[in-house]
Amino acid sequence: MTARELVLGRLRAALGTDARASVEVPRAYRRAGMRDLEQLVDRLVDYRAEVHRLAEADIADTISGILPSGATVVVPPGLPPAWLPSTVTVVVDGGLANEQIGAADAVVTAVAVAVAETGTVVLDGSPDQGRRVLSLLPDLHVCVVRADQVVAGVPEALARLSPHRPLTWISGPSATSDIELNRVEGVHGPRNLHVILLP
């Protein structure tokens, strides 16, 4: 007998005659709401992310203000080149080694969805967001969010996302609550998170 048969057999025996119809799940919680950009900003700032609100044409200028001149920036292959200032060295990911990504000063990506109520941005590996490792190793992550990508809550975000893509939900910079149960920023992920919010 395989372990699979053994475990499934035990579970069926454990349930006995209880293994019947499914249970009705009451879903009286909020499943849709009004998107609130001010709330998103408030939540992000609360996590100590830096928020910049501007028009798409001003992205490059803003990034040149965030990053020192000559900084190395890794970007996913589908990121609009117009977003990047001429003051930085841009390295486009086409299968970079982890060491190269880790050596970069920053990464710039788009996002798939942002959740106002929880201050979360979600990356799904689309061409303008790239492989998961890109937004992981550099110490500074700049992500660009369009207002129409913002949803009110978690249910709307999940409804927009595909489970068949690798998803990374990011709520503020890397942090830990492991020392005396207080949230402090900065462990293994990027210690600085900048969110550029477009109208």
């Binding site: 996590y47 492991d178 992920g189």
Partner: protein, 476 residues
């Protein structure tokens, strides 16, 4: 190899893993109670988290509706567990993953060590996982010469301090910042004594210490917070980014998951992703949540193994009242509100699952006889039930398990005698008079004589009243 008869639910085997303490709760608790530093650390940490959690739960207008949904989804999962696991297996396999089934801790440890050895690696990086602690995976890996590196900050503190975890969420909750600094100075090469005990400085040291290990280790081992049956998606919820490192950088990922962690649909995550962070770390959302379905070409590990672990869970499922302990999403809110946990700390519970949920889960996984003192590690105040985001009725379970625990003969005899007496008014009156005589005899404040002295080991016998109700009534 002989096997238990097919279909008989079996408890977790002894001699492997960390579900059984070396001594009963009352004697282990005494050590925690006598440690003023431990009590200060715990009191501070649990007070902090209670306030934070209450704040973010208070701003969600539909918290009770979310709890009701979470509870119902879990009830549904338990009722359909075999079919949901088969569905999960099919979806993970279709997405390029390999699914393994482990009847118990020994089998899971064997599967994982064989998988690691097959990669040729001699070191693994680990994401914090209760399931792998439960089965003692680190010891199994070390026994065959594979070095497990815990990458969660608190787990690292525990591992470097040669310590035991004492909390589900924050295994090093019993340590304060000064003690953590001490451990880092002692065990991490290249850390100099100018290191302060500022949490951000301590976190930065951990970042430097582990970065090279993340980049050079080929195998990672994780647990899972959720596994979605209808898509095959796995989810890991974390804070530091160590989880992302382990789930992204290595070539091979091995996830060990208790079979109760499956949820039926993608949509069900909308409930748990709201409940878990607010109940657990008291955040609107934890910093990082990773979700993956099988293998993604060109992104992350190209070999993915999912180990489905029973290890006593089928035995818990067999108890219709007890099975709600399997609803637990490991948020640890019940620990943070428990007056007993706050004073004794997690080590007193013996098992990797401490606190109220541990007091009902551990005895069921091992069989009540092996953890018979844990159902009594509670005042039944009910704070855990109120705090639980999936509404596990822990007080009900505690009483249910107390009923199953072996009771001393003296107790049963005393209860039978009391019932006999109370059923006979004259006898009862005589007994009351006899108790009053003990007042004259000056027995105040002392315990009951053996064999009933267990009852007064941690209680004072109340003074018998000068006048009973019956006496007073008769004089009216």
């Amino acid at each position: 190899m002989t096997r238990t008869f097919l279909g008989m639910p079996v408890t977790a085997p002894p001699g492997v893993g960390h579900l059984r303490g070396a001594e009963p709760f009352p004697s282990a608790a005494r050590r925690g109670l006598a440690d003023p530093q431990l009590r200060r650390n715990l009191g501070h940490a649990t007070k902090t988290i209670r306030a934070k959690s209450a704040g973010v739960i208070g701003e969600v207008p539909d918290w009770q509706e979310l709890r009701a949904a979470g509870s119902a989804i879990k009830t549904d999962v338990m009722a359909r567990l075999p079919e949901l696991l088969e569905q999960l297996e099919a979806k993970v396999t279709a997405a390029g993953g390999v699914v393994h089934w482990a009847a118990d801790a020994n089998e899971a440890n064997r599967i994982v060590t064989d998988l690691v050895r097959a990669t040729g690696g001699s070191r693994v990086i680990k994401v914090k996982s209760m399931a792998t602690q439960e089965i003692g995976l680190n010891e199994a890996l070390e026994a065959v010469g594979i070095e497990p590196v815990e990458t969660d900050l608190a787990e690292l503190i525990v591992q470097l301090g040669d310590d035991r975890p004492s909390h589900i969420l924050v295994p090093a909750i019993h340590r304060n910042r000064a003690e953590i600094r001490e451990i880092f100075l002692r065990t991490m090469p290249g850390v100099d004594s100018t290191l302060t005990d500022e949490p951000a400085a301590l976190a930065a040291v951990a970042r430097r210490y582990l970065r090279q290990t993340f980049l050079t280790t080929k195998v990672a081992i994780s647990g899972a917070n959720f596994a979605v049956a209808d898509t095959g998606t796995l989810a890991v919820v974390e804070s530091e980014g160590n989880g992302r490192m382990c789930l992204t950088l290595p070539e091979t990922l091995i996830t060990v998951m208790g079979i109760e962690k499956v949820v039926p649909t993608w949509r069900d995550l909308e409930v748990f992703l709201q409940l878990l962070p607010r109940a657990s770390t008291g955040e609107r959302m934890n910093p990082y949540t990773s979700m993956w379905t099988g293998v993604t070409p060109g992104d992350g590990p190209q070999a993915f193994h999912l180990v489905l672990l029973d290890n006593g869970r089928s035995a818990v499922l067999a108890d219709e009242v007890g099975r709600q302990a399997l609803h637990c999403i490991r948020c640890s809110a019940c620990l943070n509100v428990c007056p007993v946990y706050e004073r004794t700390g997690g080590h007193a519970y013996g098992s990797v699952y401490p606190g109220p949920i541990g007091a009902v889960l551990s005895p069921q996984l091992t069989g009540v006889a092996d953890n018979s003192s844990l159902p009594y590690a509670s005042s039944l105040c009910g704070a855990c039930y109120d705090a639980c985001p999936v509404k596990i009725n822990i007080p009900e379970l505690l009483v249910h398990l107390r009923d199953q625990a072996p009771h001393p003969r003296g107790e049963a005899t005393a209860m039978a005698a009391a019932a006999y007496t109370m059923n006979r008014p004259r006898l009862y009156q005589a007994a009351q008079r006899a108790v009053r005589l003990s007042r004259l005899a000056g027995r105040r404040g002392r315990g009951i004589p053996p064999p009933l002295d267990g009852w007064t080991a941690s209680r004072d016998l109340p003074d018998p009243p000068a006048q009973t109700f019956r006496d007073w009534w008769a004089t009216r």
